[in-house]
């Protein structure tokens, strides 16, 4: 956020707000998309987050604060959205038979991983998304999700083990 906005956030013009939207739209949309695994629902949720941001902008004091706020509100809205509807869970039975060894950059593996991440329980799913999409440290994730650090680390370890097992079962002895 430009420095002039920090002192007078109330005077932020519509064009400046549009700049904020463009700056953070990929972050907000991607968190929602990876969590919900549905582009149209992710867009609707992301729009709602930015509408809420517009109403709360005067209370936010810095660029860092805006980013923190967006991540926090997006995460909470994702959980609320999830509780209103039941996501289709990806069962291991639906996955194809093992194929050749996969590489970390394999697009097929990436697609499978996104599906498996979307099938994780809601809190571990958010932790994984914030860790690997946003490259956030566990301490920062704990702050955004208002969760003990030990819980964040536990979610990460368990999720990694679960994802590895799913990938191994469906794609064979992969190179990851």
């Amino acid at each position: 956020m430009p420095e002039r906005h920090a002192d007078h956030p109330r005077e932020t013009a519509a064009t400046d707000f549009a700049d904020i939207v463009r700056r953070y739209q990929a972050m907000v949309f991607s968190i929602a998309q990876h969590f919900l695994a549905d582009r149209s629902e992710a867009e609707e949720l992301a729009q709602d987050v930015f509408l809420q941001l517009h109403a709360a902008l005067s209370t936010l004091k810095s660029e860092e604060h805006v980013r923190f706020w967006l991540r926090k509100v997006t995460a909470h809205r994702c959980i609320d959205h999830q509780r209103r509807r039941k996501l289709p869970q990806v069962g291991l039975d639906e996955a194809p038979e093992p194929i050749a060894r996969a590489q970390a950059s394999d697009p097929f593996l990436a697609k499978r991983l996104r599906q498996y991440v979307a099938s994780l329980p809601e809190k571990p799913r958010l932790v994984v998304i914030l860790r690997y999409q946003e490259d956030m440290m566990p301490e920062d994730i704990a702050e955004v999700l208002a969760m003990p650090l030990a819980t964040v680390k536990s979610h990460l370890q368990r999720s990694l083990a679960m994802l590895r097992e799913k990938v191994t079962r469906t794609m064979g002895e992969v190179a990851i």
């Binding site: 990929a26 970390a104 394999d106």
Partner: protein, 134 residues
């Protein structure tokens, strides 16, 4: 985060899978259109005025004081009604006791009158016998 090579490869694969995605075309424009729509909506204005009302410290304190005074007055009124009810209950019990006593006295008097009016087997009124007894 981990020194385990397998974990590192898994983390790399996750970073690759969870890269930020392209937003749908026109996303920012749609957000701005909704913002404009919300600002123009009359309900939005009403909401803003109400939130503005409660955001004023003096009015917020006045509302708080009114609610507090109402609660205190309600509590006093409730206690007064309770006290009146208890006093009424005591008076009712006293009245019932008085009526019971009066009833028993009346029964006693009635029995006495009956006893006086009852004719004697020797033709003398029982009052004389009772006088002689006394």
């Amino acid at each position: 985060m981990s020194t385990n090579p397998e974990t590192n490869r898994m983390e790399d694969a996750l970073k690759n899978a969870l890269r930020r995605e392209e937003v749908p075309d026109g996303f920012a424009e749609r957000v701005m259109a909704r913002v404009a729509q919300q600002e123009a909506a009359p309900s939005g204005v009403r909401q803003a005025s109400w939130s503005g009302f409660f955001s004023r410290p003096l009015l917020r304190w006045a509302a708080f004081a009114t609610v507090t005074a109402s609660v205190v007055a309600g509590t006093f009124h409730y206690r007064a009604v309770q006290r009146e009810r208890e006093q009424g209950e005591v008076a009712k019990q006293q009245l019932m006791l008085a009526l019971r006593i009066a009833g028993s006295k009346l029964q006693l008097a009635k029995a006495r009158v009956n006893e006086i009016n009852q004719p004697q087997t020797d033709g003398q009124p029982s009052i004389k016998r009772s006088r002689s007894h006394s």
